[in-house]
Symmetry: C2
């Protein structure tokens, strides 16, 4: 069932049918009614391939994430997909963004644009981004990208501030020995959060601090990192991690060592994935609008594709959500 068939049955030309579907007001009411009748009767849908070929638009966007085994990216992709769906766009997912081979599977001619998140942006980034000839929006701090592409479009959170909020809270509630578990990779996120932590501790020289690193898909690595912190001569009274999965591992480690949370050690994570509320104790964390990040990225991308000179980058604030893994304000410290 193609457009010529519809045109023949409706007794009009293909151009009229096409116009009727795309610019209804360019067609007289009578003709429109006749055509739509046939279209509905026959259950006709235009071929996306033909439309793409003709218009040069695929109405498809690719989203590149490192993994989907972390609710953070799940929420991101979900937000992305819904924003796109509302506007008749579809979402191609590449959930192996850190695997260079995956980028080869990505056929740029098949999409109108990309949303890129969480890939390793440091080493081969320039090369990889340079090869992208389509509009793309990164979910990463725009400022870090000025060297990599001119006027980067970005949606991101103030994670420098997030790290400082978490550490400040811990400091203000009396902690003077804080452990931080960072990511075991070399990405902009990691560098930025490390910088925030370093700056914080420089500004608070009376606060002992210990850094460790872990890959959040690797529970054993997290347990090892946490144990290293526990083994410090001056044991930290709080541990801050760069995401909630690592924090979950930390809670696990502390429990198996019989350490009470938050009485003996407080724990703060980052991301506020849905899971955070499910943990025992429920996890205090730096909350980002995960779903909105995806939605906004998709929206900016679409505006950009349409040529509207849209917002170049959007910064979302983060907020500290306090749950059971930190002491309640007013609770006695180190009870």
């Amino acid at each position: 069932m193609n457009i010529r068939e519809i045109a023949r049955i409706a007794g009009v030309s293909v151009a009229t049918v096409s116009r009727c579907l795309n610019q209804p007001d360019k067609v007289s009411a009578a003709t429109r009614k006749k055509i739509m009748g046939v279209v509905n009767d026959m259950g006709y849908t235009p071929s996306p391939s033909a439309q793409s070929l003709s218009t040069g638009q695929t109405r498809t966007v690719a989203c590149v994430v490192p993994t989907l085994r972390n609710e953070f990216f799940g929420q991101l992709v979900e937000g992305c997909q819904q924003a796109l769906g509302r506007r008749g766009y579809q979402l191609l997912v590449f959930s192996t963004g850190n695997d260079p081979a995956a980028w080869n599977h990505l056929n740029l001619r098949a999409v109108d644009g990309l949303v890129i998140s969480g890939t390793d942006f440091t080493d081969s980034a320039k090369e990889r981004l340079a090869r992208i000839t389509k509009p793309y929006v990164i979910i990463e701090n725009a400022e870090d990208f000025v060297d990599l592409c001119d006027s980067p479009k970005a949606v991101y959170i103030n994670d420098y501030s997030g790290v400082q909020m978490a550490l400040s809270h811990l400091y203000e509630t009396g902690n003077r020995a804080i452990g931080v578990i960072s990511f075991a990779d070399d990405t902009f996120v990691t560098r930025r959060r490390d910088k925030a932590a370093a700056d914080f501790f420089t500004a608070h020289p009376d606060c002992a601090h210990f850094m460790a690193k872990s890959d959040y898909t690797d529970l054993d690595g997290t347990l090892a990192a946490c144990e290293a912190l526990l083994a410090k001569k001056r044991r930290p009274t709080a541990i801050f991690t760069y995401n909630d999965m690592i924090a979950a591992g930390v809670l696990r480690c502390l429990a198996s060592h019989g350490v009470n949370v938050p009485e003996e050690i407080e724990v703060i994570g980052f991301d506020n994935i849905p899971l955070a509320r499910f943990l025992t104790p429920s996890l205090s964390t730096v909350a980002a609008p995960n779903r909105s990040l995806g939605e906004k990225a998709a929206e900016i991308l679409l505006e950009f594709i349409r040529g509207d000179n849209a917002a170049v980058s959007v910064l979302y604030p983060v907020e500290l959500v306090l749950r059971e893994s930190t002491r309640q304000p007013g609770a006695s410290k180190k009870s």
Copy 2:
């Protein structure tokens, strides 16, 4: 840069270029070398839209899941995408499979086939499935679908057996009052697991049992369900839930009521999502090959698209993984 351009530069016809790319052995070695040289120099890639229009294949598959905010579906989609990527196919994700509106966004003409998982298959299923004119593979028990479509292609796990394994284990280690938290929906999964549980308890009349229901995205619902179980006159000594997210909520609820796990109450979940190891105590669960389910579904779908008469359905076994939320074999009961 299109195929005619390449043909002109290489001094051959478009047909030869096309053949060179698709059936290299149909072209002489000398010509092939010449063409490939030009192709590489110019960085030419055929337009997917044009190829789709011409061949009628999109090399794209849609995957419909209810949500990505559960690692189970994350793993599924990830497996799917990788199996597809290896064969040059792309994955469109619809992460809102239970929303009827989402199905309208799904343009069947844009894909070669579908992998469908976790959607509500009971009420409007027949209608929805009937509208699908493309090959599809469901990740659901094939037997439940014989009424809905003839010779359904399916990849699934033996979850009847999984439920019975979990309950048997609990029974054999001495539990005689077991709480079960089922899903608060009416899908085949739920019906099947409910049947398995009912059958088990019929076969073991000496075992008291209590059923509750929850939606796994709803922590409060889970807490309420769990509390209802705790409030039973004869308090259960074990709780089995239909997925790990609900089990996480149960652990959370028990902890806040000061109930020791596994000493006072044992807990077993279902799915074995990566998170399960991160929980405190780490969660015993019925393990399914989540990632493989996605991979296998994609593979079967591709074979089916190609017309190879592939395996119609594949059943994976499940296994009971025992961690800290159940008592160690040999540990004294109700210590």
